[in-house]
């Protein structure tokens, strides 16, 4: 674990309400090594996206949020890091892909301008011309061949799938060490989603980018991730390599989650026990040899 890129230890989060505090995350431990693809799986409201927001420091400034524990990126404690340190991490070392690609690009700028701004974060005072050339190359990598038209378009003029690919290109533009993908493509239909995920998979493999993949889609996770964390109600309930989790499922919640995927061969809807008292069983951590390169 010495060369872990991101190391989250004993992370807890609660929100201070008017009369009571609501616990959202409870003692989360999670680590990602260089170039490793890690998936975080859980149902809606289990705290997946909140973890991403904490890593990026978006939540800490919010009123009423109480964050405890440590988040280390390359050994730097993010909580203690200065504003300058964090600013230099964001967009260069850590980047993020959002659920809805179209709304995460400013509608008043052309794609080319957005690329220019993002690339400017990586290399200061990059000229517009050079930025556009770089952008065309990046777009080619995500299989957009008509990059000239795309660079001249506004985000709302492109389809959702196209925007998602643009988002992937933007997120990987500065060759970040860690990419956080928060349910990418949930807003897209299944075929386009599969296509873009495949693209993303190939690209991060090529660039040796570590990925924190947040999803509720087990099928996608199975194909994409090296290691899986299953989260339920703010607690990690099972963790381990993808193969051991899928082949040797231990925790009742994970089993229920697997059964929830409708099978094309089954005649009726699944009959999973969703007795939540079972899900409170202690977490199970599979003992695997370290993966990660």
């Amino acid at each position: 674990m010495s060369d872990s890129l991101l190391d989250i230890q004993n992370l807890s989060l609660s929100f201070q309400g008017l009369t009571e505090t609501v616990d959202v995350l409870d003692n989360i431990n999670l680590s990602i090594s260089r170039g490793e693809r890690v998936a975080l799986v859980g149902e809606s409201g289990s705290g997946k996206s909140v973890i991403a927001r904490i890593i990026l420091g978006l939540l800490q400034s919010q009123k009423g949020a109480i964050v405890k524990g440590s988040v280390r990126f390359r050994g730097i404690e993010l909580e203690a890091a200065t504003g300058n340190q964090i600013e230099s991490l964001r967009g260069r070392e850590i980047s993020m892909i959002f659920q809805d690609p179209t709304s995460s690009m400013n509608p008043v700028y052309k794609i080319g301008t957005i690329f220019h701004e993002i690339l400017n974060r990586g290399t200061h005072n990059i000229s517009k011309k050079l930025a556009l050339i770089k952008a065309s190359k990046l777009l080619e990598e995500v299989s957009i061949t008509e990059f000239k038209r795309v660079l001249e378009s506004y985000p709302f003029q492109l389809s959702g799938g196209m925007n998602q690919r643009v988002m992937i290109a933007l997120a990987l533009a500065n060759k970040p060490a860690l990419l956080i993908a928060d349910e990418p493509g949930t807003a897209l239909d299944v075929t386009v989603q599969a296509q873009t995920l495949k693209l993303m998979h190939n690209l991060v493999k090529k660039n040796n980018t570590a990925v924190l993949f947040i999803s509720h889609n087990l099928g996608v996770v199975h194909q994409f991730a090296d290691r899986v964390y299953v989260i339920y109600k703010g607690r990690i309930v099972e963790s381990g390599s993808t193969s051991s989790i899928f082949e040797n499922t231990k925790h009742p919640y994970t089993k229920a989650l697997m059964n929830a995927v409708p099978k094309i061969t089954s005649k009726s809807f699944f009959d999973a026990s969703d007795d939540s008292s079972l899900f409170k069983q202690p977490a199970f951590h599979h003992k695997d040899r370290e993966i990660g390169q």
């Binding site: 990026l56 978006l58 964090i86 995460s104 400013n106 509608p107 700028y109």
Partner: protein
């Protein structure tokens, strides 16, 4: 941009508005050439022709000291337009900046800035302007100052509300994630998404600023004689109604033309921007 002007011209109402505005601006710019008696803009006395009803030499009649009313109205356009431009140029940036800052920062700064704005908004505009003018001397400059002081809060409120809703948009969060500074997010991400509202409001406001300045002049607190001003001309003529009707009716119509023109264009702009989003 070209397309938008085309749309404006295609709509009969906004076309009329543009026509009225360009008529007013054109006549104000070329006042020296189109007015029959350019000297009458100042302190000139011609008692042989005083208080004449509209006729062929003085198409809108003459005032109480014999000056051509048409000439004075055209020159009064100049003052009105200048006032409108200056007031908006000063108050809009102040209001927009305050709104962006309060809306994006939130917290204590938001509270302080917006309560200051509320204080300004709670005073009836004309009363505030009159108070400022009463405190200072009634000159054009102070008039502009007074109207500016009452105008910026409306922009603060508008931009504040827009910023509050834009701030939750995905692209603002995305900009925060890539490490954009708060100034970058305020001015380069949020502000461009507010320009449509600002432009529309400015167009509508141009007419209202002129109306307010005319009201101040009507009360004797605005532009002072001998500088021609539509408001003070109406005030002066009102004492001689209904016999010397031209003294009031023509300056009043002039105010109507300006405000009406800007309102028509403003409304059309608002409709146009609405369909955009």
């Amino acid at each position: 941009m070209k397309l938008k002007i085309k749309i404006l011209l295609a709509n009969p109402l906004s076309f009329m508005g543009l026509l009225l505005i360009s008529l007013v601006f054109g006549s104000a710019i070329f006042a020296d050439f189109i007015t029959p008696f350019p000297l009458h803009k100042g302190a000139v006395v011609d008692f042989s022709n005083f208080n004449q009803a509209p006729n062929l030499t003085n198409i809108m009649g003459t005032d109480l000291v014999g000056r051509d009313l048409f000439t004075r109205i055209i020159y009064a356009f100049r003052i009105s337009i200048m006032l409108g431009i200056v007031v908006l140029i000063i108050s809009v940036p102040i209001g927009v900046f305050m709104g962006l800052l309060a809306g994006y920062s939130g917290g204590k700064l938001d509270f302080v800035l917006m309560r200051i704005t509320d204080v300004f908004l709670s005073i009836p505009p004309l009363v505030l302007a009159m108070a400022v003018m009463g405190l200072l001397e009634p000159t054009i400059l102070n008039g502009m100052l007074a109207v500016t002081a009452m105008w910026w809060p409306w922009y603060t409120r508008l931009i504040y509300n827009l910023t509050r809703s834009e701030k939750e948009e995905g692209y603002v969060v995305a900009a925060e994630v890539v490490g954009a500074s708060r100034w970058h997010i305020m001015f380069r991400e949020i502000l461009p998404n507010c320009t449509h509202a600002i432009i529309t409001k400015m167009t509508l406001d141009f007419g209202f600023v002129i109306l307010i300045v005319s009201s101040l002049s009507f009360l004797g607190l605005g532009v002072q004689a001998p500088t021609p001003d539509l408001g003070s001309m109406v005030a002066e003529g009102a004492r001689y109604l209904p016999d010397s009707w031209w003294l009031t009716v023509f300056p009043g119509l002039a105010i109507l033309i300006i405000v009406f023109g800007f309102n028509l264009v403003g409304d059309a702009l608002r409709d146009m921007m609405d369909t955009d989003s």
